[in-house]
């Protein structure tokens, strides 16, 4: 092996150089970021002089936009193409994250500030029965949401999980391909169609026009199953075959291998997927409006009578405001806040479960 055949770029790194050669000093990115935001502020400062209000958000966004090419440029000049690319991607990835935080923070602030107005005891111990104007609460909707979503989860988690197990562990050939295909089709069911379907289905059994909580649950389950299947399938596929083989070689039957090795290994991902699926449907409005209807009173029975849910409550409070409108809007926001808190709690529980079962990876 001779040096002459080495690729150019390798020899381009001069051996005599200290290993620190050609690096931007550690604080450089921060200095550049500060400068970029300074420039952004200057631009908007000039605009402010021209009579516009000084726009902090704009200054920071322009600054961030300036930072990305400038860090790339500086790094390109000092550190070369590859480091520059790395820094560019770091800036972009961080930027993507910050960008996504903007709507989140904006939403959170909106929901919390508006939602706190009616986030009081009455809101949680009253329904809307006989309430017009101010007062009232969403207890009926909270109970309804928990019951309807709970039932939807009870229907779809076993079906979804077992289906993904089938697809990953057993499925070969036609049936598996068919089911994969159908799950794909199922992701395409618009939520409102799911609502129409559930409504039509229960009309057959319980007479025309009936609206019940369970019909809402079925509608949500139709929406939830494909999400559960897809995400669990993805997670199950990530379990290395080595582990399955290790279990088989110990004479463990396939189903026990799945239950005791495959599922625990992927439980973190699966719970995340399930929480996401629950979160996905718990906020559905349109299908519940159609299938479960709307009531102002308490109803604890999934199988009889209309049942309110939080999204429907939010929607009707917003859409059909009476006098004074603020009372309706406040209730709508408070209900939205409640819904988010419920999902937050669910998420926390799922995380605890996941942490408890998660694989303990050392090295």
């Amino acid at each position: 092996m001779t040096t002459t055949t080495k690729p150019d770029a390798v020899t381009a790194v001069p051996i005599e150089n200290s290993l620190t050669a050609g690096r931007l000093p550690a604080p450089a990115p921060w200095i550049i970021l500060g400068a970029a935001i300074g420039v952004g502020a200057a631009i908007f400062g000039v605009l402010a002089l021209a009579g516009n209000e000084f726009n902090w958000g704009g200054a920071i966004i322009v600054g961030a936009l300036l930072y990305i090419p400038s860090i790339w440029l500086f790094s390109m000049l000092v550190e070369g193409r590859r480091r520059a690319m790395d820094r560019l991607v770091t800036a972009l990835v961080t930027g993507a994250f910050v960008l996504a935080m903007i709507p989140l923070i904006s939403l959170t602030i909106t929901v919390v500030t508006y939602g706190l107005a009616r986030f009081d005891a009455e809101f949680f111990n009253s329904s809307m029965r006989n309430v017009t104007g101010e007062g009232g609460g969403a207890l009926h909707a909270i109970v309804g949401t928990l019951l309807i979503t709970g039932a939807a989860a009870v229907i779809s988690i076993p079906i979804g999980l077992m289906t993904s197990i089938y697809l990953v562990e057993y499925g070969r050939g036609r049936l598996a391909r068919g089911i994969t295909f159908l799950v794909d089709v199922m992701t395409g069911i618009p939520s409102i169609v799911a609502g129409l379907f559930a409504y039509a289905l229960f009309s057959i059994f319980l007479g025309p026009g009936t609206r019940t909580g369970i019909a809402g649950s079925v509608a949500l389950a139709v929406l939830m199953i494909p999400v559960v299947v897809r995400s669990s399938e993805e997670m199950l596929r990530l379990v290395p075959n080595e582990l399955r083989e290790a279990a088989y070689a110990l004479g463990v039957p396939k189903w026990l291998t799945i239950v005791k090795v495959v599922l625990p290994t992927s439980i973190a991902g699966i719970t995340t997927g399930i929480t996401l699926a629950v979160a996905r449907v718990i906020g559905e409005t349109a299908p519940l409006l159609i299938a479960a209807g709307f009531t102002a009173s308490m109803n604890y029975n999934l199988f009889d009578g209309r049942m309110s849910s939080l999204p429907v409550f939010v929607y009707t409070q917003y859409a059909n405001q009476g006098n004074p409108p603020e009372a309706y809007l406040d209730r709508a926001w408070a209900a939205a806040l409640t819904l988010i808190l419920i999902v937050m709690a669910l998420n926390l529980i799922a995380r605890l479960v996941a942490r408890f079962f998660a694989p303990k990876f050392g090295r």
């Binding site: 083989e245 279990a247 088989y248 070689a249 050392g362």
Partner: protein
């Protein structure tokens, strides 16, 4: 009780690719048989057909017969799970269960099968298996730590401990020592020596010394070229294979004058 293994004219496929062709051999109970041969010649593939692990791979299949004490493993109504309980296996790469502690890993074969075992029995089995794999001293203080936190060699010994904990009749080992230091290797070799009183052992190894040290019989596999199937070239007593093989290729291989 150990088992006699008889293989009759076995062809092993990955989908359409014939990986191993026309192997016939007999493995005596209470003996150690070593498989040697160059990389890629199908040793692992063939070994995995002996406890029906081969069919776990999608598209993989087998033609021919493998008889264990006269019963064909590949008969239609044979339960592969029972086969694997009697024919244990240790893999080339250590693969402890990441969700389990060291202790749970060792007892996995017992616990995963939902067998009930008393705590004292479990502890005894645990210690016995770990000692057998020469790992007890290193891990006895951290039995509840995850098994995946161990070094490569420690992990492999953990896998050996796990395999012997279910007391199979036959133990297949696919290069079990390739990640071990000499001391652990020696311990495993001693263990093999000891186990052969009771079990039938088949071991794949790249280490000629190891093959000659531990095995009673040796099978040499070779491959004519890439894409060609592997073949069993010679199968005989280990001493014969290493001192006086009847095929030239074998002699070249064991003496390191190959190719």
């Amino acid at each position: 009780m150990s088992k006699r293994i008889e293989v009759k004219d076995l062809n092993v496929y990955y989908s359409k690719f014939l990986a191993v062709e026309g192997v016939s051999l007999e493995i005596e109970p209470r003996s150690v048989t070593a498989f040697i041969g160059p990389s890629g010649c199908g040793k692992s593939t063939f070994l995995r057909t002996l406890n029906r692990m081969h069919e776990v791979i999608p598209g993989a299949r087998v033609e021919g017969e493998v008889l264990i004490d006269g019963n064909n493993l590949y008969d239609a109504d044979v339960d592969p799970v029972l086969v694997r309980r009697q024919v244990g296996m240790v893999f080339q790469r250590p693969n402890p269960f990441p969700t389990m502690s060291i202790k749970e890993n060792v007892l996995a074969g017992v616990k995963l099968n939902n067998s009930r075992i008393s705590k004292s029995d479990a502890d005894e089995l645990l210690e016995k298996s770990l000692r057998g794999a020469n790992l007890w001293n290193e891990v006895k203080d951290r039995l509840d730590r995850p098994g995946s936190g161990l070094s490569g060699g420690q992990q492999q010994r953990l896998c050996i401990a796990r395999a012997i904990a279910v007391s199979p009749e036959v133990i297949l080992m696919d290069e079990p020592c390739s990640a071990l230091d000499p001391i652990s290797t020696l311990a495993i070799e001693d263990l093999i020596e000891e186990m052969k009183q009771q079990y039938t052992i088949v071991i794949v190894t790249h280490n000629m010394q190891q093959a000659s040290r531990v095995s009673d019989k040796t099978a040499f596999f070779n491959i004519a070229g890439t894409g060609k199937p592997g073949n069993l070239i010679e199968y005989d007593d280990t001493t014969t294979i290493f001192s006086n093989p009847s095929v030239q290729a074998t002699e070249d291989y064991v003496s390191g004058r190959f190719g």
